[in-house]
Amino acid sequence: MTRTAAALAVFILLAVASLFAGVSDLTPGAVLAGDPAAINLLLTSRAPRTIAVVLAGGSVAIAGLIMQMLARNRFAEPSTSGTVDAASLGMLCATLLLPDMPVIVKMMVAAAFALAGAGLFMGVLARIPLSSPLVTPLVGLMLGNVIGAATSFIAYRYDLLQSLAAWSNGDFSTILRGRYELLWVAFALAALAWFTADRLTVAGLGRDFSVNLGLNYRRVLLFGLSIVAMVTAMVVTTVGMIPFLGLVAPNLASLALGDNMRRAIPLTALLGAGLALACDLLGRLVNYPFEIPIGTMMGVIGSMLFLYLLLGKRFRAG
C-alpha cells in the first residue's frame, strides 16, 4: 500500500509539473492570482495536454495488461500483437474510402480492424506450439510487420505517409481543447475492465480453468480484445502510438502486486499515466524550447525499463 501511495504522490507531482512546463510562462502564482491570460492558457492548452497524457497513458497501460492476461504472455501488448498496425490500416482505409465521415466513424473502422488484428493474433497463437514465451511476441511482431508493410504501401500510393507517421509516433504537442476528448472514452473503456476484473483474471488462467469455473471463455476473450482494440484505435488516431508503455507498466505493477486484475488494474493505470507524464515532460525539457515527441522519449526510456525487467528474474521462469 505504501508503494501505491508513493506512486500516487509521484504521479501528482508530475501532473502539476506538466501543467506549468512549457514555452510560454505560466506560474502557479499567476493562476492563483486570477490572471485571465494565465487561466486561459491553462484551460485551453496545458490542462488538455496534461489530461490527454494521463488518459492515454492510463488506458494504453490497461490495454497492455488485458492483452498480457488474455494471451497469457508477459510480452504481449497492442504493439506486439498486430493490433496497433491493424488499427493504422483501418484508419488509413477509412481515410481513403470514407473521407467525409466524422472522425468517430473512422475510429470505429480502425477499432474493427484492430479487433480483427488481435483476433488473428490469438487465433495463430492457439494453433502453434508455444515452445518458448518469446514465440508469442515474435508472432505478434511478424503479424504486425506484414500488416504494416501493406499499410505503408497503400499510404505511399495515396500520398498519406505523413498521416501514417503521425499515428505511429505518439506526440502530445498539438493537443488543445477540442482535440483530445475522445481519450476520455478510451479511458472509460479501459476502466470498464476493472468492473470485469475477475472474469479477465479467470480467463488469464487459461481455457481449461475457465471452463471448469463455468466462465464463457470465448465471450470474455472477445470482450477483453474489444476493449484493447477500441482503446488502441482511439489512442493511435488522436495522439499516435506510445511504444513500450503497454509492456512496461503492467509488468512493473505485476511485480509489485501480482496479476489479480482487481488489484493490478488501478496500479497499472497509475504507473502508465505517470510514465507517460514523465516522458512527455522530459521531451519538453531536454531540448528546450523544442519538443521531442513522447513516442521517441518512451522508445528510449521504455526500452531501458524493459531491458531492466527482462534481465531481472521476472522472465526467466516463463
Binding site: D198, L205, D208, G214, N216
Partner: protein
C-alpha cells in the same frame, strides 16, 4: 451418478478412447488406472467437458455434460487436469478463492471465506497462502491447484494424477483427503492414479483402461490380482496381503528378450 454411454474419442482415424460404458455411483472414490496412453486423461477431460467427444454421451446426475450450461455444471462438477500451467502471477489465496467463482462470481461472501480457509487448511497451505504461485515448489503448486478445486466445493471432483510431484507424506495426505471428502462430505471423487497401491488402499472402485478401452472394473480386491495386473500393465506383480490391504510388489521383473 456418472453415466458414460458408448463414449468414443478419435483423432483422425485413430480412436484413443472407444466403447466405454461405465456407471459410477454417487459417493465414494473411483480410481482410474492403466498404462501411459491408455486414454485415462482423455476420458476424464471428456467427463469434465473440457474435451468434446467424438461419439456417445456422458450424464452427470442426469445432465448431459456436452450440452449443459457450463456455469451451472461448474457448481456440480470440478476437474483438475494432469498438467496445469498458470502464467498469471497470483497468490495461493487468490487462486484458491477463484474456486468460489461459480458460486460468488467474484464477490466473496463470508461463507466463501470459510471455504477458502478450509481448502487452504486441508491442503496444508495456510502458511503459504500469501506466496505467489511462481514462488512455490512443484508439489506445493500441485497442492494449490487441488485446493482450488476443493474450494469449488462440487459434488463431483475429477482429479488427473493429483499425486504428481508430491512426497510420500503429502501423497498419503492427498489420498486421506479424498477419503475424507467422500466419507464426511459425501463427495464423488474420480481420480487417475499411477500408484496402484494407493488405488488399492484408498479407492472403493477401480476402473482399469488399456488401449482406449475399459478392460477391468471392480472393487480393489477384484483388480489387485497378479492376473489382472498382467492384463493391464504387462508386468508380473506379486500381490501380498498386508494388514487387510492388497499390496502389489513389482520392482524386479524377470529379464525380457
Amino acid at each position: 451418478m456418472i453415466e458414460i454411454r458408448d463414449v468414443r474419442k478419435s483423432y483422425g482415424d485413430t480412436a484413443v478412447v472407444q466403447g466405454v460404458n461405465l456407471t459410477l455411483p454417487r459417493g465414494g472414490v473411483t480410481a482410474i488406472i492403466g498404462p501411459n496412453g491408455a486414454g485415462k486423461s482423455t476420458l476424464l477431460t471428456m467427463i469434465g467437458r473440457l474435451l468434446p467427444m467424438s461419439g456417445g454421451q456422458i450424464l452427470v446426475d442426469g445432465i448431459d455434460v456436452a450440452h449443459a450450461a457450463s456455469h451451472a455444471l461448474a457448481r456440480r462438477l470440478s476437474i483438475l487436469r494432469q498438467d496445469n500451467h498458470i502464467a498469471a502471477r497470483l497468490t495461493v489465496r487468490d487462486l484458491v478463492a477463484f474456486g468460489r467463482y461459480p458460486h460468488s462470481h467474484g464477490r466473496l461472501t463470508r461463507e466463501d471465506g470459510v471455504h477458502v480457509a478450509r481448502a487452504l487448511d486441508f491442503l496444508g497451505l495456510t502458511h503459504l497462502a500469501d506466496r505467489f504461485l511462481d514462488e512455490l515448489s512443484g508439489g506445493q503448486r500441485q497442492r494449490a491447484h487441488v485446493a482450488m478445486v476443493v474450494c469449488q466445493d462440487t459434488d463431483y471432483i475429477l482429479l488427473d494424477e493429483p499425486l504428481n510431484n508430491l512426497d510420500m507424506k503429502h501423497a498419503v495426505g492427498m489420498m486421506q483427503l479424498m477419503r475424507r471428502m467422500a466419507d464426511d462430505l459425501g463427495k464423488t471423487i474420480v481420480v487417475v492414479l499411477h500408484d496402484i497401491n494407493f488405488a488399492s488402499c484408498y479407492a472403493d472402485h477401480i476402473v482399469a483402461m488399456r488401449d482406449g478401452r475399459v478392460i477391468r472394473e471392480g472393487a480393489p480386491a477384484a483388480i489387485m490380482t497378479a492376473d489382472a495386473m498382467r492384463a493391464i500393465y504387462d508386468i508380473d506383480m506379486h500381490i501380498e496381503k498386508i494388514g487387510g490391504d492388497r499390496i502389489g510388489v513389482f520392482y524386479r521383473q524377470p529379464a525380457r528378450d
